[in-house]
């Protein structure tokens, strides 16, 4: 899937947030260092911030509720931000959103910055607000996000159930970017995680050089819809060197 050239590697502690611009033709390889990580993530087109990750389109275009290897993550404009080219986990969810500060206090008590410094309890909601504001974006732009490494099942009656132990130490997912993308992420707890203590789970991320997408690419052929999504990206990049 990739030629495995690691261009950059870093670690993000649990309960933190960051943002970065990924270039077309590179991959973001994320590793759950200790097991039980959650990575909230959103995508935007850096040259048109109104184009953003669209969870409903991503799910319905691929007739899926869970996300795993082969799935593509779509913008609201019918294009693919990135493809899941590797996944040792098997299920990532995209419908449960984030915890707010108030919910965190209710679950685990208040751990303010004043009292706890770097061990404060940050929320996914505030994390996104902070990162989004760096690009002139606000709460209006906060679409339904990915919660990578987290699994939420639905029974026949529609009830949601958070699956504990979904991601183990060393599990990974790799996102290959099919267009330039602003990635906004946090490592705050999943909203349905009822662990006794605030789960603070670090991730390692690597930026890798991706091999060119071939006609027999797994993600491109995973669904006929993805072939058309790739075609839309191709049209978008006409006249641009790959």
């Amino acid at each position: 899937m990739t030629d495995n050239t690691i261009l950059y590697q870093d670690r993000i502690a649990g309960g933190c947030h960051w943002s970065l611009r990924m270039r077309r033709g590179t991959s973001l390889h994320l590793v759950d260092e200790e097991g039980g990580a959650n990575v909230g993530m959103l995508f935007y087109n850096p040259v048109n911030l109104l184009e953003r990750y669209n969870a409903p389109d991503t799910l319905k275009c691929q007739h899926t509720f869970k996300l795993t290897r082969g799935n593509c993550l779509y913008s609201d404009m019918g294009r693919i931000f990135c493809s899941i080219v590797e996944d040792s986990v098997g299920w990532h969810e995209t419908v449960c959103g984030n915890l707010t500060r108030e919910m965190i206090i209710k679950k685990w008590g208040e751990h303010s910055y004043q009292d706890y410094h770097n061990d404060w309890y940050q929320s996914g909601h505030d994390s996104f607000l902070v990162e989004l504001a760096k690009y002139g974006l606000g709460i209006e732009d906060m679409a339904a996000n990915l919660n990578l490494f987290s699994k939420v099942e639905v029974d026949e009656a529609g009830n949601l159930r958070y699956a504990t132990g979904n991601s183990k130490a060393g599990d990974f997912i790799e996102l290959r970017f099919e267009m330039d993308t602003l990635v906004v992420l946090h490592t705050c707890p999943h909203p349905l995680n009822n662990a006794d203590d605030y789960p603070r789970k670090p991730i390692v991320y690597q930026i890798r050089k991706a091999a060119p997408v071939t006609d027999d690419d797994y993600c491109k052929n995973y669904r006929p819809e993805n072939q058309r999504g790739f075609k839309n990206n191709e049209i978008y990049h006409l006249g641009v060197e790959a």
């Binding site: 389109d57 275009c61 899926t64 019918g78 959103g97 339904a144 026949e156 529609g158 839309n232």
Partner: protein, 212 residues
């Protein structure tokens, strides 16, 4: 959950028939009850809600399903905003299940779902784009168009993580009714989709009714 309403259409303070492919945009006041009636059956009504005093506060599918612990909407569901407030509550429902995960159709997603050459077919998002353009008093734009409710639409999720668009479970005369907990901008696209069973391949009118 099936729950019938005791409200009588003749007592409604407002009634409007919305043809397929058209939109409805109006403020429903706090305390008013608002009904969407599926006149001919199997018709998806793609709906968004905003706080009329501050449209940055809007219906949030994620917050709504997470807080009720269930992905389907029906009588008793509280429709939660992105700021954690109850905007409306579903007080009557003769359909029994509504979707909020499938999103709306857009010309661009139609290219992916059906065929690239279908890109110019009418779609819900185009109705919303026209709605925000024609109703400047609300100060809204594309960034305000988020994840909606699909009233009358049947999108079952399976235990192994599948999601399908099934034939509608609605029928002529079925309705869903909500009581507003705040002054709410209601924005409905009466879905024009011709490529899947959400409208039974034949989009039809809905009626909107409001009671004090």
């Amino acid at each position: 959950m099936i729950k019938e309403s005791s409200l009588v259409p003749a007592n409604a303070v407002y009634r409007e028939t919305v043809p397929a492919g058209d939109y409805f945009m109006k403020v429903v006041k706090k305390g008013q009850t608002f009904r969407i009636l599926d006149l001919e059956g199997n018709q998806a009504a793609d709906t968004l809600f905003y706080n009329a005093d501050d449209p940055a506060e809007r219906y949030s599918a994620m917050d709504t399903i997470r807080e009720q612990g269930n992905v389907y909407l029906t009588a008793g569901t509280k429709l939660i905003s992105n700021q954690g407030n109850v905007m409306l509550e579903i007080v009557a429902d003769t359909c029994g299940r509504h979707d909020t995960l499938g999103g709306a159709c857009a010309t661009e997603s139609n290219t992916v779902r059906y065929a690239l050459e279908k890109k110019c077919m009418h779609a819900c998002r185009d109705s919303w784009m026209l709605a925000v353009a024609e109703n400047e008093e609300f100060g809204m734009s594309k960034r305000d168009i988020t994840h909606n409710i699909n009233f009358f639409m049947n999108v079952p999720i399976t235990a192994d993580g599948g999601l399908t668009f099934e034939d509608g479970i609605s029928a002529p005369g079925k309705y869903v009714e909500m009581k507003a907990h705040m002054d709410t901008i209601v924005l409905v696209s009466n879905c024009p989709q011709l490529n899947n069973p959400c409208n039974g391949y034949n989009p039809t009118p809905i009626e909107v009714l409001i009671w004090n």
